[in-house]
Symmetry: C2
Subunit: 163 residues, 2 copies
């Protein structure tokens, strides 16, 4: 049903505004709703909404990722933490800053390398993690709820290939 041949070609440039490209039929079928990037964005929006509902609006998915990673492997430098949680060094800085301000993280200068400082969970951070890891699992479960067990495995396998 979907045209898969993909012969690339030609754009007529001199055109009138009101007649859309697809209406002229000159560009084969670029349907927004079928583009993987657009679908991905919507799935992530749904996930984020579930996260807010279940885990709570005072913790965002990115902030949770930081707490979870630190709970998982312990303290590490800010930049490494960013890499482990898929954030660039500007983003991780902001996230850490806000979590420190809320008392969930503690930072301390690394004596071996004065450029970096080690970041770890505070007792309050550990408590928040312990308290919300259940809801966080629920979010994962609910996100995948429309799929059966076999489909879930397949999806995670395929998505992981695209990371």
């Amino acid at each position: 049903m979907v045209n898969r041949g993909v012969p690339e070609k030609r754009e007529g440039t001199g055109e009138e505004a009101e007649i859309s490209a697809s209406q002229r039929g000159e560009s084969r079928d670029y349907v927004l709703d079928e583009q993987v990037g657009f679908i991905l964005r919507q799935v992530q929006q749904r996930h984020a909404a579930l996260f807010t509902t279940r885990v709570g609006g005072d913790l965002t998915p990115t902030q949770w990722a930081v707490l979870a990673k630190l709970a998982e492997v312990g303290g590490m430098s800010q930049n490494l933490l960013g890499r482990q949680t898929a954030m660039d060094n500007v983003t991780i800085k902001g996230v850490v800053e806000r979590l420190v301000k809320r008392g969930l993280l503690v930072t301390r200068r690394d004596p071996a390398d004065p450029r970096r400082f080690s970041i770890s969970l505070s007792p309050a951070g550990s408590a928040v993690y312990a308290e919300r890891v259940g809801p966080a699992r629920e979010v994962t479960r609910e996100t995948l709820e429309p799929l059966d067990s076999e489909e879930r495995d397949a999806l995670l396998r395929l998505l992981s290939k695209l990371r």
Copy 2:
């Protein structure tokens, strides 16, 4: 106390981090890298990077979505456009605003309903769409490149269920 045979490795940063929940074994296995939300975020990051490379940094995926939707179905109100492109009314406002400022969109008040105005592509907007729809297709192709044809269909089918 649940002591499984899974040895949690410490990082060699030479510090005594808090004892993590997973190290205590009190929370069964919440591994960030296996959570669908975390994977989704990474896949979207990869897609966004490809988009910037291929389509160009002066157009974001969301801006492209607006152009593509308008090219597909023609003019419509701002809020409807937002719904069609999966943006809330605040986000779509900002996106439209920036595209109007760049001359890619035109707006005009709806005489039948003075609250709303109709948004459509300007000639310049149509030209930009025609010029970049090819690269945009490339982005979709490259994003899915790690998968074979069968896997791509499966992924899109599964993702669509989670929208």
